[in-house]
C-alpha cells in the first residue's frame, strides 16, 4: 500500500535522536527497546549465576562455599523469574508489536508505559543492592520460618525488589488490557485478533489478578521478620503452610504468566513459516483463556508433600490434569498447522519447532509431577528442576528468541544473517537438551535440588549437564553478536520480508512514530495464507500474489 510505505525517513528510530528523547519517550516501540536493554542486562546477571551453579556442580565437592552457593541459586531464581521471564516477551515484543498488530497508534497509556520501565529499573537497582550487600539465601520461594527467622541474608531487600517489580508488571498489564479493549482498529473484532494479542491479553489478566497477592505475601514476610507477628511462626501460633498457600496462589499463575506469551509468539511463527492458517483458531484462543482461568485453581500441587489434607491433594491433582488439557490442545493444533503447509525452515521457525518439542516434554513431565503418588518421590528433586526448565527455558526463552528474530526486521529495518541464526537455533536446542535431560535422570535417582554437594555416583550426569550448559551459553551469546552486526550492516528488510499477514507488517520497517500513516481497516481473519501458491491476504484486506 502506497500510503503506508510513503513516509520513509521519519521512522521511530531516527525521528529524534537525543538521549532525552529516548529517556522521556512515550512511543511504545522505543519503550519496548528500553525494556529490551533492561531485561538483557538481567538475563546476563541470571545467566552468570546459572554458569556459576553449573560450574560448581561439575564436581561433587564443588567450588563455592555452601553459603555462597545458596546465594547464587537464590539470585538465579529471583532474577530469572521476575527480572527476565515474566517481563521478557510482554514488555519487549508485546510492547513493540501489540499496538501495531491491532492497528493502534500507541498503547492506551503511554506515560504509564514509560513509568513502568522506570519502576522496573528501580526494582532492579534494589535487587542489585541486595546482591552487592551479600545476597539472599532462602531460595526464590522465601519459605518461612527459614526466610523469616533463620536466614541471615538480605531477604527483605530482595523481597522489596520483587515487591516494587510487581508494580511495573501491573502497570504494563493494565495498559495491555485497556489497549486491547479500546484501541483496536475498525474491523479488528475479537475473533480477528492475532493469537499473540490473545496471549498477551490473557496473560495481562493473570498479571492483574495474581501480582497483588504476591505483594501481600511479601508484606506479610516483612511483618513477620520485622515485628515477629507470628503469622507463619509456629512458636507464636502461626502456620508456615499458610505462606505456601498464598505464595503459590500467585506463583502458579506466574508459571503461566511466563509461558502464555510464548504460546502467542509460536502461533505467529508457525503460521507464517508454514504459510497456512492456524489449525482451529477459536480453540486456540479459548484454550489461552482456559489456561488463564484454570491456573488459579491448581496452586497446592506445589504442596503435595507439605502436609495438606489428602482430600485437597486429590482435588488439586485433578485440577492440574484439567489445566493440562488446553495446553495439549495447543500442541496438537500447532502440529496440525504444519499439515499441508508450505514450510520453510528459517531461524524463527526452527526456534518455534524447538519450542513445541521442549514444551511438550516439559508438559508431559509436568503430568508426572502432578500425579500424586509420583510427586511424593519426585518433589524437590532435580526431576522438578528439569521439568520447569523445559517449560521456562526450552519453552519461553526459545519462543523469545524466535519472536526476536521474526520481528527483528520490523524493529530495526534490517535482516539478520540467516545462516548464523539457524546455527544458533540448532545449538540452543542441542545445548538445552544436554543441560537439562540428564537432570530428569538425576531426579529419579534421588538428587535433591538446592544441594551444594552430592553423591559421587551422580557426577557423570552432572558433568554432562554442565557441558551442555556451556554450549547453551554460546548459543545465547551468538545472537548478541550477529544481531548487533546486522543493526549496522544488515540488508534492508523492506516492510514485509516474511510476507506475513499481520498489520504490523503492513507499515514500513522500522515503523513511523505513530505506526500507520492512516489507521488501517481490518477486513479479514488473521493468517490468511494460502499454502497452494504462497499468496496471502493481509489483515487490512490487501491481496498479495
Amino acid at each position: 500500500m502506497a500510503a503506508l510505505a510513503a513516509d520513509v525517513g521519519t521512522d521511530y528510530l531516527t525521528s529524534e535522536n537525543t538521549v532525552r528523547s529516548w529517556l522521556l519517550t512515550r512511543d511504545h516501540k522505543r519503550i519496548g527497546l528500553l525494556f529490551f536493554a533492561s531485561i538483557t542486562f538481567f538475563f546476563f546477571i541470571g545467566g552468570i549465576a546459572a554458569t556459576l551453579i553449573r560450574l560448581h556442580l561439575a564436581t561433587p565437592s564443588g567450588l563455592l562455599q555452601p553459603s555462597i552457593y545458596n546465594r547464587v541459586f537464590t539470585m538465579h531464581g529471583i532474577v530469572m523469574v521476575w527480572f527476565f521471564l515474566i517481563p521478557s516477551i510482554p514488555t519487549t515484543l508485546g510492547n513493540f508489536v501489540l499496538p501495531l498488530m491491532i492497528g493502534a497508534h500507541d498503547l492506551a497509556f503511554p506515560r504509564i508505559n514509560l513509568a513502568s520501565w522506570y519502576v522496573f529499573n528501580l526494582s532492579g537497582l534494589v535487587l542489585l543492592y541486595a546482591l552487592i550487600m551479600g545476597g539472599a539465601d532462602a531460595g526464590w520461594t522465601f519459605y518461612p520460618p527459614f526466610s523469616t527467622l533463620y536466614s541471615d541474608g538480605y531477604i527483605l531487600v530482595a523481597a522489596l525488589a520483587v515487591f516494587v517489580n510487581g508494580f511495573s508488571t501491573i502497570m504494563t498489564a493494565l495498559n495491555f488490557v485497556v489497549t486491547t479493549h479500546r484501541l483496536r482498529a475498525p474491523g479488528m473484532t475479537w475473533m480477528r485478533l492475532p493469537l499473540f494479542v490473545w496471549a498477551i491479553y490473557s496473560v495481562s489478566l493473570l498479571m492483574l489478578l495474581a501480582t497483588p497477592v504476591l505483594a501481600m505475601v511479601l508484606l506479610l514476610v516483612a511483618a513477620e521478620r520485622f515485628l515477629q507477628v507470628g503469622l507463619f511462626d509456629p512458636t507464636h501460633g502461626g502456620d508456615p503452610i499458610l505462606f505456601q498457600h498464598i505464595f503459590w496462589f500467585y506463583s502458579h499463575p506466574a508459571v503461566y504468566i511466563m509461558i502464555v506469551p510464548a504460546m502467542g509468539v509460536v502461533s505467529e511463527l508457525v503460521t507464517c513459516f508454514a504459510r497456512r492458517p492456524i489449525f482451529g483458531y477459536t480453540g486456540m484462543a479459548y484454550a489461552l483463556m482456559a489456561i488463564a482461568i484454570l491456573s488459579f485453581f491448581v496452586w497446592a500441587h506445589h504442596m503435595f508433600v507439605a502436609g495438606i489434607s489428602i482430600y485437597s491433594a486429590v482435588v488439586f491433582s485433578l485440577m492440574t490434569f484439567f489445566v493440562a488439557v488446553p495446553s495439549a490442545i495447543k500442541v496438537f493444533n500447532w502440529t496440525a498447522t504444519l499439515h499441508k503447509g508450505s514450510i520453510s525452515f528459517d531461524a524463527p521457525f526452527l526456534y518455534a519447532l524447538g519450542f513445541v518439542l521442549l514444551f511438550t516434554i516439559g508438559g508431559v513431565t509436568g503430568l508426572m509431577v502432578a500425579t500424586l503418588g509420583l510427586d511424593i518421590d519426585l518433589h524437590d528433586t532435580y526431576f522438578v528442576i528439569a521439568h520447569f526448565h523445559y517449560i521456562m527455558v526450552g519453552g519461553t526463552v526459545s519462543a523469545f528468541f524466535g519472536g526476536l528474530h521474526y520481528w527483528w526486521p520490523k524493529i530495526t529495518g534490517r535482516l539478520y544473517p540467516e545462516l548464523w541464526a539457524r546455527f544458533a537455533a540448532l545449538l540452543t536446542f542441542v545445548g538445552f537438551n544436554l543441560t537439562f535431560f540428564p537432570q530428569f535422570i538425576l531426579g529419579y535417582l534421588g538428587m535433591p535440588r538446592r544441594y551444594y554437594t552430592y553423591a559421587p555416583e551422580w557426577q557423570p550426569w552432572n558433568l554432562l549437564s554442565s557441558a551442555g550448559a556451556s554450549i547453551l551459553a554460546v548459543a545465547y551469546l551468538l545472537p548478541l553478536g550477529y544481531l548487533a552486526w546486522s543493526m549496522l550492516r544488515g540488508e534492508r528488510a523492506g516492510p514485509n520480508p516474511w510476507r506475513a499477514t499481520g498489520l504490523e507488517w503492513q507499515t514500513s520497517s522500522p515503523p513511523p512514530t505513530y505506526n500507520f500513516a492512516r489507521t488501517p481497516a481490518v477486513t479479514t481473519a488473521p493468517y490468511a495464507y494460502n499454502p497452494e501458491n504462497g499468496s496471502y491476504v493481509a489483515q487490512d484486506g490487501t491481496v498479495h500474489a
Binding site: 508456615p240 507439605a306 502436609g307 503447509g341 508450505s342 525452515f345 524437590d380 551444594y452 550426569w461
Partner: protein
C-alpha cells in the same frame, strides 16, 4: 545397579516397587505422547517442506472434530494417570499403625531418631526388614523434608505439627536419607543412612545400644518433672482427665466437635491448650509451648501412648 552411569535408583521397599510401576506406566504414556507429536511434526516438515510436490488442496475445514477427539483422548489418558496416582498417594500418606514406631526429629542440620526402646541415633536409622515401620516426624526449627529415595517416600517435616510416613523395607542394606527442603547452609549435608537388617540382627543391635529405659519410661519421668502428674492423676485435686486409655480414643471437645487422640492431637493439647478444651473439664491446662524441647515432647507422647487401652 550402580554402574558407571546409573540410570535407575535402588528399590528396597514395598512403596518403591509400587512407585516404580506407576513411574514406568506414566513414562510410557509420556513417551507415547511425545513420539506422536515428534513423529507427526517430522513427517509434516518433510512432506510439506516448501517446494515439495505434495498436494495442499482441501485443507481440513472442520477442525473442531479433530480437536474434540484429541481432547477426549488426552483427557482419558490423563484421568487414568490421575486415578492411579491418587490411589498410591492415599495408600502412602494414610499410614497404618505399624509394627514399629520411631520418632524422627529434624533440626539444623541433623536427623535424630528415637526408638520405642529408648535407643537413639543421629543421622542413622536401623530397622528390621519386612516390618511395617511408622515414622513420626517433628521439626525443631525450620521446614525439613525426610526423603529415602530407595523407598520412594518423602514428607515435609513442618515445625509446629507432626507428620507421619511409613515403609516396609524388603531388602537388607543401607540406603540414603536426604533432606529435600532448603533449610540453611548445610541443607545438602542433612543426610543419613537407613540400615535395613534381618530381624535377629536388629534385635541384637537394639540390645547392644545399652539402653535400660524405654522411651515411654523416659516420658514418665518428664511427665513428673514438668508437673503434669500433679493434675493428671487420681490423687490430684484438679479436675483433669486421666491419661489412661486416652491414645487412640475419640475425645469430645467443649465446642461440640471431636478429635481422635493421635500424636498430633496430644502435641496440640500440650502446646496449644488455649485453642480447645476437653468437654466437661475446666480450661486450666497450662500452656507448655517454649518450655519443652521436641525431644521431651516425643517422650511425653510415647508415655501417654503406652497408657493406651
Amino acid at each position: 545397579m550402580q554402574g558407571w552411569l546409573p540410570f535407575w535408583p535402588r528399590t528396597a521397599a514395598v512403596s518403591g516397587e509400587v512407585v516404580n510401576a506407576l513411574y514406568i506406566a506414566e513414562l510410557g504414556i509420556c513417551v507415547l505422547i511425545v513420539l506422536t507429536v515428534v513423529g507427526l511434526m517430522l513427517r509434516f516438515c518433510l512432506v510439506y517442506r516448501r517446494g515439495s510436490s505434495a498436494s495442499r488442496a482441501n485443507l481440513v475445514a472442520k477442525t473442531w472434530q479433530w480437536e474434540i477427539s484429541w481432547t477426549v483422548a488426552t483427557l482419558v489418558l490423563f484421568l487414568f494417570a490421575f486415578v492411579w496416582g491418587a490411589v498410591v498417594y492415599i495408600w502412602l500418606y494414610d499410614p497404618p499403625s505399624g509394627e514399629l514406631q520411631i520418632y524422627v526429629v529434624g533440626k539444623q542440620w541433623m536427623w535424630k531418631m528415637e526408638h520405642p526402646g529408648g535407643q537413639r541415633e543421629i543421622d542413622a536409622l536401623h530397622v528390621p526388614v519386612n516390618t511395617t515401620v511408622r515414622l513420626v516426624l517433628a521439626s525443631q526449627d525450620v521446614i525439613h523434608s525426610f526423603f529415602v529415595p530407595a523407598f520412594r517416600i518423602k514428607r515435609d517435616v513442618v515445625p509446629g505439627t507432626l507428620e507421619t510416613i511409613w515403609f516396609k523395607a524388603t531388602k537388607a542394606g543401607t540406603y540414603r536419607i536426604e533432606c529435600t527442603q532448603l533449610c540453611g547452609v548445610q541443607h545438602a549435608n542433612m543426610t543419613g543412612e537407613v540400615t535395613v537388617m534381618e530381624p535377629a540382627a536388629f534385635g541384637r543391635w537394639l540390645k547392644q545400644q545399652g539402653v535400660h529405659e524405654s522411651l515411654a519410661q523416659q516420658g514418665e519421668a518428664v511427665f513428673r518433672e514438668h508437673g503434669c502428674s500433679g493434675c493428671h492423676s487420681t490423687a490430684s485435686t484438679v479436675h483433669a482427665p486421666l491419661m489412661n486409655g486416652l491414645y487412640g480414643s475419640l475425645v469430645h471437645l467443649q465446642d461440640g466437635s471431636s478429635r481422635v487422640a493421635d500424636e498430633r492431637y496430644l502435641r496440640d493439647c500440650i502446646l496449644l491448650p488455649r485453642t480447645f478444651t476437653v468437654a466437661g473439664y475446666p480450661p486450666v491446662m497450662p500452656d507448655f509451648s517454649g518450655q519443652l524441647s521436641e525431644d521431651d515432647l516425643v517422650k511425653l507422647i510415647a508415655y501417654i501412648k503406652s497408657l493406651a487401652k
